[in-house]
Symmetry: C2
Subunit: 441 residues, 2 copies
């Protein structure tokens, strides 16, 4: 759950639940603006009691701000400051002079080696220093993957429906056409792919965003069969891959067929979004295109930071930090589930115990997504609805059970309990039947 900050900040990052707690110092962000916009609308006579309230998307458009704020799955207050300072100090003391000059755009060999080892043991990924490209975060890596696919001749990219609007935006920005691949409780419906005529598909097998499910073994097999049969390429966004905490994470899809999968990952959820480090592990036939794209875009992380991360991984500090983060996420999810099931039993919380987001299904008969979202804005809670994650933004109302996407990686420690309590109170009130006023005699 992230308090929304300035639109200027959030409008760039991957979307999720906009959750403004009035006790939070940052409530004068989007949520406050939304409240004001609704009050102004009522005052100006544009909104009347009983009117269907506008969606946050529409309101945000009215306000001239982009909707969608970030789900920071790593709580920024959990960053290992001392550990990072220690590795950075050693890098600055011990790195050879050449490390301060122009770097290999594929990434520092030390980091590519450390990541290849880590991804192999933690995710089963078949990575080497030769097929691993260091990127500036997962969004950058996905854009590079899509551009490389376009350069390789791909035209149509299948995108999970629902999925992050940022995913659609990044794909569109690379010149690929996008087609929706429906998802259900077993993840992406791979069997539908053949009929879509897509050249490539991007999926989140470890933890579907936003549905929160894992891609089933049968679907994995169908996906790989499609790729082998059609020559298609699978882009695996290993979203929350290492952050499953109920049991051993399912290994990466890439491990099953490295020749047909582009694997993408990041430290933004496990360590800190501020670092801007991600990676891409590509099949041999795309190495040239990936190199060309990096060369044109001309952006990669600082060599010093790459060397620090390499050391952080080599010393085992990274693995220890991830184990610690799993515990933090587990506690946060448990509190959310306990609070909501106690206060609003009719809500259904779905998705596996992983990462930092859950899906809350809204019971039939209650307020619709858009109404709930707008009422929440009036209460200082800018919540987000599942319909905003449909490819093309098609509203789900009347098409599937409405739901809220809740990111629980933030706010930081103390504020989190209050945030969950406020959400619980709001939802309980929303689902408490109103007693009708007594009729006059």
């Amino acid at each position: 759950m992230v308090p929304s900050t300035s639109a200027g900040e959030d409008s760039w990052t991957s979307p999720g639940l906009d959750f403004l707690i009035s006790v939070d110092r940052r409530t004068r962000g989007l949520g406050g603006a939304l409240q004001q916009a609704i009050r102004d609308g009522i005052h100006a006579g544009r909104l009347h009691p009983g009117d269907p309230l506008p969606s946050t998307r529409a309101l945000a458009a009215d306000l001239g701000v982009a909707r969608g704020t970030v789900v920071e799955h790593a709580d920024p207050s959990s960053f290992p400051r001392q550990g990072w300072a220690a590795v950075m100090r050693r890098v600055l003391a011990e790195a050879p002079d050449e490390a301060f000059g122009y770097a290999d755009p594929r990434g520092r060999p030390e980091l590519r080696a450390a990541l290849a080892g880590y991804l192999g043991r933690a995710r089963g990924v078949r990575a080497t220093t030769a097929n691993l490209q260091v990127c500036a975060g997962a969004g950058h890596a996905l854009g590079i993957a899509f551009r490389a696919l376009a350069a390789h001749g791909a035209r149509l990219l299948a995108v999970e429906d629902p999925s992050s609007p940022r995913m659609h935006e990044i794909a569109a920005g690379t010149g690929l056409d996008v087609v929706a691949l429906p998802c259900d409780g077993s993840g992406a419906r791979a069997g539908v792919l053949a009929g879509l005529g897509a050249d490539a598909v991007v999926v989140t097998p470890a933890h579907q965003y936003p549905l929160g499910v894992t891609l089933s073994p049968q679907r994995r097999a169908e996906l790989l069969a499609w790729a082998r049969g059609t020559g298609g390429i699978i882009v695996e966004d290993d979203y929350d891959g290492e952050l499953r905490y109920d049991r051993q994470p399912v290994q990466a899809l890439q491990a099953l067929d490295p020749g047909r999968v582009i694997y993408v990952g990041t430290t933004s959820k496990s360590l800190a979004a501020a670092l801007r480090v991600g990676w891409l592990v590509g099949p041999p036939q795309l190495t040239g295109q990936v190199a060309d794209v990096i060369r044109i875009i001309n952006a990669w992380p600082s060599s010093l930071e790459q060397l620090a991360l390499a050391r952080f991984i080599e010393t085992g500090m990274f693995d220890r930090h991830i184990r610690r983060m799993r515990g933090i996420y587990r506690q946060r999810r448990d509190l959310l589930v306990a609070t909501l099931s106690q206060r609003v039993p009719q809500l259904q919380i779905t998705g596996i115990a992983a990462g930092g987001h859950a899906l809350v299904r809204l019971p039939p008969g209650g307020p619709g997504e858009h109404e709930l979202v707008a009422k929440a804005a009036l209460a200082g809670l800018a919540v987000d609805g599942l319909s905003g994650y449909r490819v093309g933004g098609v509203p789900t109302d009347g098409r599937e059970q409405p739901a809220l996407v809740i990111g629980y990686g933030t706010p930081a420690g103390r504020s989190y309990r209050a945030a969950v309590a406020a959400l619980g109170d709001f939802l309980r009130a929303a689902y408490t039947p109103q007693t009708a006023p007594p009729s006059r005699p």
Copy 2:
């Protein structure tokens, strides 16, 4: 002068003189491969005594490696390790938790404020936190500027001729058509622009790369008159802007008309290429396009590094470091000029005393550029010719006096003197008339 390392490393970075000293540990890079390729060519009968030897570009293509290695104008051994460690330590100790979360893609406000202040006092640039965009180096910034211009409707970009092949490559990669703008001893011939029908032009007014001259006051006025008259946009690559050491640097062109100039700079030459930090200061009418491009490309430097650089600037460490670098460059240039004028008086060394590169004009009657470059490769010296910097790579032979581009920012301290001596010996031998063998009686 940079010892070429692996082609994989250098093939990505801005080109310059490829200068391999056999005493250097890295001589088994491109240069060694070039020697072998030439020997193989002779052995295989593809090359014969008297044949015009192939250019490094052609040889590099034969070798399947991209030509052009970097001119690291900052000597990597000059990086202020202690100072950087100090600011980074303070950032990790004092930064607020939010600094470890998702950042404003425009860059951290602390860094935008520090850079705006620095660029104002050091370069006269009219920058604010609102119009300054933090980028991942100058190449990244130029690509963003070109994409923003294309989104704004620009189709044709005028590029200085000669200029860096990386500039042509970055421009081509952004979908703009490129037209050559000829340069002479006064810099870009702005008067020619009107006839080219360009929508925008990219120039290096402070220190033309590779000619090494400054854009004259009259040319500056002509350039701005063109922009005002046609609505054209000038992209100012402030190459070596703060690194003039013979006198006060000429202020940035942007200072004269911030509404018509996109200003681009970087710390790669002044501090370290490894940091991957650059910036772009754009006119108001392009702010939206720049934001859109950053949002799609999705790459920016680490917040921690941005905060460290902000502190490095605020504490005055950055200004002190640049003063120190000016002294280092001055000594290196003086040694180069003294050595070459003493050993090969017929060579003409041109360009202002700034930055880390000089142009050496080759006298008529001597070996041509390509021949000299290939012979140098045989001697373990992979030198580069001016013809490689022509837009479209049109050879200069027969069109203008041949010349070598020499970057003297590297190699590091001890190796530099040997590098200059070896270059002097090689050029002296190349220009010493051969005595004909005695004819038989």
